[in-house]
């Protein structure tokens, strides 16, 4: 497995994992109260910060533990990277559009922030899964 494929696995796991941990913390903290009243900003920033650090550490570990051959990158890697990014960007775009709709409807900042975060998490995860699928089965004709 190349380093690029390992990176895709790492992002496919870390991004939704961080969101799940964050969501669990917020739900426990709410304890049945309305979610929009739960303080979330520092928890979200810490979760995002820690997930970035964890993914960097895992990328370093993946790079160290891979053979020299696995570090090479070519045109296929670049095509797969572009394909995965395109898939991921669709969900980031949908999250942004949903957030814009919520802002226009003057919904609580809590929901706008979380729709954007969810869009990033889903986009990163599905983009990475698309890369993994492309490495395993090839890039689909689009």
């Amino acid at each position: 497995m190349t380093v690029e494929e390992k990176r895709a696995w790492i992002m496919a796991a870390v991004s939704p994992g961080a969101f799940a941990v964050y969501a669990a913390i917020i739900l426990v903290r709410a304890g049945g109260a309305p979610l929009r009243d739960v303080p979330y900003v520092s928890t979200m920033l810490w979760t995002i910060g820690i997930s970035i650090v964890v993914s960097i550490v895992l990328h370093i570990v993946a790079a160290i533990t891979s053979g020299a051959d696995a570090h090479k990158k070519d045109v296929r890697d670049r095509e797969i990277y572009r394909f995965g990014d395109t898939v991921g960007q669709v969900f980031i775009f949908l999250g942004a559009v949903a957030a814009m709709g919520l802002a226009m409807a003057e919904v609580s900042h809590f929901w706008i922030t979380h729709v954007i975060y969810l869009g990033f998490a889903v986009g990163t995860c599905l983009g990475s899964l698309a890369k993994i699928a492309a490495y395993r089965d090839g890039i689909p004709d689009c």
């Binding site: 190349t2 051959d69 070519d74 045109v75 089965d137 090839g138 689909p140 004709d141």
Partner: protein, 73 residues
Amino acid sequence: MRTRVTNTIRALRFARGEMTQAELGDRIGVTRQTIIAIEQGRYSPSLEMAFQIARVFGVPLDEVFQYADGDAK
């Protein structure tokens, strides 16, 4: 997703003194994983890469790559 482009790279490698996938990859500037993906029909090389592969083996392009019969998309 399997490509309809089939190839004889594996046979040609063995006919050329059991050339390794890594060696072929080095000759045309791609990774061993890409050669594996091409051989298994999981990746269609660009026309330029296809010509480079044919040149390594010293054969015409259609001796390396074939396009399966059937309705074209």
